[in-house]
């Protein structure tokens, strides 16, 4: 008689199906998920992570460009930031169960809630990014524009980073377990996206900061992702398998290719830069979607909750600690 365990139960089977009322050697109650998987729609929320990161980092790039006298790159980045932020917001609101209650996000200020902190950051960032973009496009109120640009850059780094804290602060194994590296992954990913956008939109003459940012971001993203996977142990499995794994693989290829292509010299440099920028943007998006999917997969299978727990427990036991 086959023993049905949590590991054998797969989504294709009917719920709880086994040959008998299953014997007790399961990893969880009838192999069912221990956690509730996120209710979020990938397009809305992973999209939001990507766009929010893009916006925040673009604001930083814009400030840098402005301060170093690269108005084209600055303008493009500001517009890009505003566009990305607006789209991100649309996704965010769309994903709410009660969109009409969006403003309740500002009902409290909760330091314990990354989403609350993020909401307040967004509340500050949005207007700043908006003013920065509008003044830059219209050329009016330059001083206000400068201030807004700097403010957006300052808050933007928070906007780019907080979503990492947001997903890490859940019980989802693949997210929670990566809480140390996640901010670096997200910031790196944001930077490479912003750099990519910068490369795509700026002239060759002004693109140096974007190039640097992109390279730096790509390196940060990929290295911290590696580190994270290593540290996650068995819970990293969904980052290598399934849709999460495929997306992260794609992200790696795109990001590496994008980063390398931006460094290609020669006649086609402009073209390569554009293609590379696009690849970096796509790579960044794939990273966010990949991590999102991997997280969902890790919540759906109880082994990612139970096995690491047991591992920790036996480690503690070996270390002589009282078993919890």
């Amino acid at each position: 008689m086959a023993v049905a365990t949590g590991f054998q139960r797969r989504r294709g089977r009917r719920r709880g199906e086994a040959e008998v009322v299953p014997p007790p050697q399961f990893t969880s109650y009838y192999g069912r998920p221990i956690l509730k998987k996120p209710t979020w729609a990938a397009l809305d929320i992973a999209g939001y992570f990507f766009l929010g990161g893009l916006a925040g980092a673009s604001s930083g790039l814009a400030a840098g460009a402005e301060l170093t006298g690269r108005p084209g790159l600055a303008r493009a980045s500001k517009v890009g930031a505003l566009g990305a932020a607006s789209l991100a917001l649309v996704g965010l609101i769309h994903d709410l169960g009660k969109p009409s209650r969006f403003l309740n996000m500002l009902r409290v200020f909760k330091p314990t809630s990354p989403m609350s902190v993020g909401s307040w950051l967004l509340a500050a960032y949005g207007p700043a990014a908006g003013v920065a973009a509008v003044t830059s496009v219209t050329g009016t109120f330059p001083r206000t524009g400068r201030a807004a640009t700097l403010a957006a850059a300052a808050v933007g780094s928070g906007v780019a980073a907080y979503t990492a804290a947001l997903i890490s602060d859940t019980a989802v194994p693949a997210w929670h377990g990566g809480y140390r590296e996640m901010p670096f992954v997200f910031v790196g990913s944001a930077a490479s996206a912003a750099g990519g956008l910068g490369l795509l939109t700026s002239s060759d003459r002004e693109s140096a900061p974007a190039r640097r940012l992109a390279a730096w971001g790509a390196v940060l993203e990929l290295s911290s992702l590696r580190l994270m996977e290593h540290r996650l142990g068995s819970a990293a499995e969904p980052m290598r398998q399934g849709s999460g794994g495929r997306l992260l693989k794609a992200a790696e290829v795109l990001t590496v290719a994008g980063a390398l292509s931006t460094a290609l010299p020669g006649r086609r440099r402009r073209l390569w830069a554009g293609l590379g920028g696009a690849a970096l943007l796509a790579g960044s998006a794939c990273t966010r979607f990949g991590i999102f999917e991997a997280g969902v997969a890790s919540a759906e299978d109880p082994k990612y909750t139970v096995v690491p727990q047991r591992e920790r427990l036996s480690q503690r036991e070996q270390a002589g600690a009282v078993p919890g």
């Binding site: 008689m1 040959e19 409290v108």
Partner: protein
């Protein structure tokens, strides 16, 4: 200020200004939270009520607001339920206020394919007209020259879900119309209980009450799925367990009860007498009985006539068997005593008045529901040394000599070590200091030897001295909310209120002969005449006079068994043409449901009163026979009326729970739409009929026209006053003053009483059933919570809790005792004994009635004052329990040549075929034993659970339970489908493969059992085949209860065939097994 308030409404501001800086508590509170109120806070009133599902009778509080019921929950004051409700009780709000309830009268014309609407008044007129027409067509003044004044054309079924007052009106009205086929769930449920406990102890109700189980030292739950079927009552088992009691569950299937027991003992279904007989054997052989108790309080010392021969001598049958007639001459089992011979001669004479059908009837056992069987004049000879070979004690010893541990193992599949442990447990926990209780329900009652199952426990408990004592007794766990009530105030063919027997047709029988036949000489059953006359006065009031024998003649007469299964046959024969289903669903709940439906398809008219469109209301449209093509709606001529019923929250009345306790529930709201109570229906139907016949001079109409039928009505709907009915049930004297005890009843016509055992419930004009003194303020028996029959006693026969001298057997087990200073019995309970009769009292020569009871006669309703180890009279299938195999069994009877109960009632017909058994050819086709049972989440035939969403989601589909071994053997897959086949039909069920079902070793081979919850049918929110498609009408001869707890089946993987192929499958089995209409019918 305004700004501040507005700012204050913003939690961030409150975070900054208040203590909750992190915004996780007070600061984040919303307006709605601040103003939150539970919905019951605004209730206009809280109405005291009782759960309408099962016999535990949990008390409910019904919260009403704006004329709507808004919440129903437990009443913590109840001494029985302590505020708890099981899932069904907890779903009462959905049951009573949910969308599944019908509120429209529906009508189906003959041959129609669908319902149409009808106005309530028109429908009532039409029904009245149908009743009179059918009655006229089928009226019988006499049968075989004997006066019967009755109609066999009309029958009614249902009552256990209804109030006592409603049952009272149903029986009263229909009886006055000459209808005798009045039946309810008690027949199919616990009729065996009444006959078994009645003949053993003198009353047919549970000997104890649920709360007293907490005092047990050992509780044997056998034949009951206590935790699932009486969940809230089970708290008292848990209470006992907490105090250290051992809880043992003996059951074919491992249920939630088994999970909570200390010991679970799997048993082959249908073999409990072998097991209990084994324990009796152990107790007798090892001399573990409670000698002083046995000698004083039981009939162990009584001598039995020398005509008696035991199964030991006759290879499994008793003396007096007439195989041809399938009856015993029970006079060969009687006591030997001074005047017994002549007395029995007299009774013989009376018996000879009966025609053969009557002696076939055998339905008399139930008339000992509150009054033991008559033994004739005088008292039996006794041998207090218990040495006389013909004394009961010695007979018992011989009878059980072959019930050895080896035999138990062979028959029941219980290993000897387990059996010994069981014996030790009950023996070690009985005696002066300790008590053992048995709890059973329909796992025992529903067998062809159902009565004898319970008798076996009675014998054992008497030997161990456990009756009438705290923590002892036999807890009969009754079924529906008021099934006890519908037995006490019976809607049963063979009983009148208070277990007075319905009279049989005799050539010249009058009231005197009737009384002579059944009343005892000694004890309170000697006053049967007073009870009967008072009933007749309650029925016919001023018209009942001494001159006309109080209208005794108005009662229609029986000529045999007219139980519900007989009625089905009458329907198929075309004799019974009109049928009332008043809260019962035989198309799912009764055995051989196909035959039930075929019977209904042969009616002129059918009235169904229920909450929803149950299977019994719609079979003509979508029943299994329509699906299989066997019938088409266009061919079915039955006219069907559906009347929506009022729920318990919509009417006042009393339920009698399994403690014999009457609990009043008050109307909370009026029923909506056309929904009405049964009280309304019966009262207004009666009123119409009386109006229609007002001018009639016909003799046959006089019982109806002279019936007292003047209940006051209340409100716009003209609801008759239930309290007025209760007052009549309680009884009053010639001045109309309420009586306070049945001892006040007179035989001269100066008192009227609708149900003598309920006399006292309305003492001083106060509704004692509505008393709600909180449990916290009284002792564990809760004497001031509602009212128990008889005389508010909670533990019956409690005189036996004291030794013959009147002192408690031990301090630990004291309940009532003799207080010599006051010259009275005192105690925690109302003494079940004449209050001032001293323990050493010896009745004077020639004393009768209560006067004739000796001081050590604790069984005051018994003819000899004793608990009966041996039943000399009153049962038709034996004086002592004997193991027989079920009607259908894969095994031969290991104990005797006699395979089955020789006098069991079989109804052979092509729709009700039986299978071969044991070594007979063809039996091998049905190798598995099946039993049927309940789930906590559903209720009986499903009318009150399959339409209730919250209950359905908990158990959404019909399934069968099988062991992994059987699953392997038959290729069954967990959650797949299985088809289960008997000679009656084949059904399909989802498969639950579980180790909880354990294969047994029986007679050297492996036996697999199949478990089937029986709640499903074709209608409602969750649907499935009914287990009762499989069961047969094989009945216990005493009480006509069906054997649905043990039968043989085949099981195969996959779904059952549809259409005509279904019958073909069943036929193919019949062919291969060589089954004919006569198979399995031999005596």
């Amino acid at each position: 200020m305004g700004v501040r308030r507005r700012l204050d409404a913003w939690p961030v501001f409150r975070q900054l200004s208040g203590p909750d800086r992190l915004g996780r508590g007070a600061a984040a509170e919303s307006r709605a939270s601040a103003e939150l109120q539970p919905r019951v806070a605004g209730a206009d009133k809280v109405v005291k009520s009782v759960c309408p599902y099962c016999g535990v009778g949990c008390a409910q509080n019904v919260f009403v607001k704006d004329g709507k019921v808004i919440q129903i929950e437990g009443d913590p004051d109840s001494p029985v339920s302590r505020g708890r409700l099981c899932p069904k009780g907890s779903a009462t709000l959905q049951l009573t206020t949910g969308p599944s309830r019908e509120h429209q009268v529906l009508y189906r014309r003959p041959f129609a394919k669908d319902w149409e609407r009808l106005d309530l008044e028109t429908a009532m007129d039409m029904v009245a007209e149908r009743v009179l027409k059918t009655r006229a067509e089928t009226w019988e003044d006499s049968v075989d020259g004997k006066r019967v004044r009755r109609t066999m054309g009309i029958a009614s079924l249902g009552g256990a879900t209804l109030d006592n007052e409603e049952n009272y009106l149903i029986k009263k009205l229909l009886t006055s119309l000459g209808v005798i086929q009045i039946e309810n769930q008690a027949r199919v449920c616990h009729s065996s209980t009444v006959a078994a406990l009645g003949t053993s102890f003198g009353r047919g109700g549970s000997t104890t009450c649920l709360q007293d189980l907490q005092n047990s030292d050992c509780i044997v739950i056998q034949g009951s799925n206590f935790a699932e079927a009486h969940p809230v009552g089970f708290q008292w088992v848990m209470e006992a367990k907490k105090k250290g009691a051992r809880v043992i569950h003996v059951d074919p299937h491992f249920s939630r009860t088994s999970a909570l027991a200390d010991t679970y003992v799997p048993i082959r279904a249908g073999t409990d007498i072998a097991l209990l007989g084994g324990i009796i054997h152990h107790v007798l052989e090892e001399e573990k009985y409670f000698a002083e108790y046995v000698l004083n309080y039981t009939n162990a010392a009584a001598i039995v006539t020398d005509k008696f021969h035991d199964t030991e001598e006759l290879d499994g049958v008793f003396s007096g068997l007439d195989r041809e007639q399938r009856t015993y001459d029970t006079t060969t089992w009687e006591y030997q005593g001074a005047e017994v011979q002549s007395a029995s001669g007299e009774r013989d004479k009376a018996a000879r008045h009966m025609d053969t059908t009557e002696s076939h009837d055998k339905g008399h056992g139930e008339s000992h529901g509150s009054g033991g069987a008559a033994i004739g004049k005088g008292q039996p000879d006794t041998d207090p040394s218990l040495k006389d070979p013909r004394c009961v004690f010695q007979i018992l010893k011989r009878h059980y000599a072959r019930y050895t541990p080896e035999m138990v193992e062979e028959i029941c599949g219980i290993p000897q070590s387990v059996f010994r442990d069981l014996c030790q447990a009950v023996v070690a926990n009985s005696g002066r200091n300790r008590t053992t209780a048995f709890a059973y329900a329909v796992g025992w009652t529903q067998h062809t030897v159902g009565v004898q199952y319970i008798r076996a426990a009675s014998v054992l408990q008497l030997l161990l001295g456990n009756i009438g004592r705290p923590g002892g007794g036999i807890m009969a766990l009754r079924g529906h909310a008021s099934i006890q009530g519908s037995s006490d105030i019976p809607t049963l063919f063979n009983l009148l209120p208070g277990y007075l027997p319905m009279p049989y047709a005799h050539s010249e029988e009058g009231l005197d002969a009737y009384i002579a036949l059944d009343s005892t000489e000694k004890g309170f059953w000697a006053e049967m005449r007073s009870y009967m006359v008072s009933l007749l006065k309650a029925y016919w009031g001023a018209a009942a006079t001494p001159e006309n024998e109080f209208c005794f003649d108005y009662l229609p007469r029986l000529t045999g068994s007219h139980g519900t299964y007989d009625t089905v046959q009458e329907q198929l024969k075309g004799v019974c043409k009109g049928y009332f289903l008043i809260g019962e669903n035989p198309a799912v709940g009764s055995a051989n449901t196909r035959m039930q439906r075929l019977g209904m398809a042969n009616l002129d008219w059918l009235v169904v009163r229920d909450f929803s469109l149950i299977e019994s209301a719609t079979w003509w449209k979508d029943g299994p026979e329509i699906e299989s093509g066997e019938l088409t709606s266009e061919e079915i001529r039955t006219e069907v009326f559906f009347f929506p019923a009022a729920a318990h929250t919509e009417k006042s009345g009393s339920f009698t729970n399994t403690n014999r306790m009457l609990q009043w529930h008050h109307q909370a709201v009026e029923p909506e739409g056309d929904a009405r109570s049964e009280l309304w229906f019966m009262y207004h139907l009666g009123r119409r009929l009386r109006e229609l016949l007002a001018e009639s001079g016909d003799e046959r109409d006089r019982p109806l026209l002279e019936l007292t039928w003047d209940y006051p009505t209340e409100g716009e709907q003209q609801e008759p006053s239930a309290e007025a009915v209760l007052a009549e049930v309680n009884g009053f004297d010639s001045e109309g003053k309420p009586l306070s005890a049945y001892t006040e009843l007179k035989s001269d016509g100066s008192t009227a009483c609708g149900c003598w055992i309920y006399c006292g419930v309305y003492a001083e004009g106060m509704n004692h059933a509505a008393r709600r003194r909180p449990a916290q303020e009284q002792n564990w028996l809760g004497p001031d919570w509602c009212w128990s029959w008889p005389a508010n006693r909670r533990v019956l026969y409690n005189r036996a809790s004291a030794d013959p001298a009147g002192a408690p057997w031990s301090d630990r087990k004291s309940l009532v005792w003799w207080d010599s200073e006051d010259g009275a019995w005192k105690g925690h309970d109302v003494p079940d004994f004449p209050p001032n009769k001293e323990p050493g009292f010896v009745p004077p020569e020639g004393a009768r009635g209560a006067e004739a009871l000796a001081g050590n006669d604790p069984f005051i309703m018994q003819a000899d004052g004793k608990g009966w180890l041996f039943v000399p009279t009153g049962l038709v299938d034996g004086p002592m329990p004997t193991h027989y195999e079920p009607e259908e069994s894969p095994f031969d009877n290991r104990l005797y040549e006699q395979q089955r109960n020789p006098v069991r009632q079989v109804n052979p017909s092509r729709h009700n075929r039986y299978q071969p058994s044991g070594n007979d050819k063809g039996a091998e086709l049905f190798p598995y034993v099946t039993t049927t049972y309940r789930l906590t989440e559903h209720f009986t035939a499903g009318g009150m659970s399959r339409w209730t969403p919250y209950l359905n989601e908990l158990q959404p589909e019909f399934f069968c339970e099988v062991s992994p071994e059987l699953a392997r053997e038959r290729g069954l897959e967990h959650l797949g489908w299985a088809t289960i086949v008997t000679a009656r039909s084949a059904i399909e069920a989802r498969v639950m493969v579980t180790e909880r079902i354990k294969p047994l070793r029986v007679q050297g081979r492996t036996l697999h059992q199949v478990g089937l919850p029986f709640h499903w049918g074709g209608n409602g929110l969750s649907r499935g085949d009914s287990a009762n498609e499989l069961t047969s009408m094989a009945l216990d001869p005493n009480v006509h209860i069906q054997e649905d707890k043990a039968f043989a089946v085949d099981i195969r993987a996959g779904r059952r065939p549809r259409g005509p192929a279904l019958r073909e499958l069943v036929e193919s089995y019949a062919r291969r097994a060589g089954i004919t209409d006569d198979t399995g019918t031999e005596p």
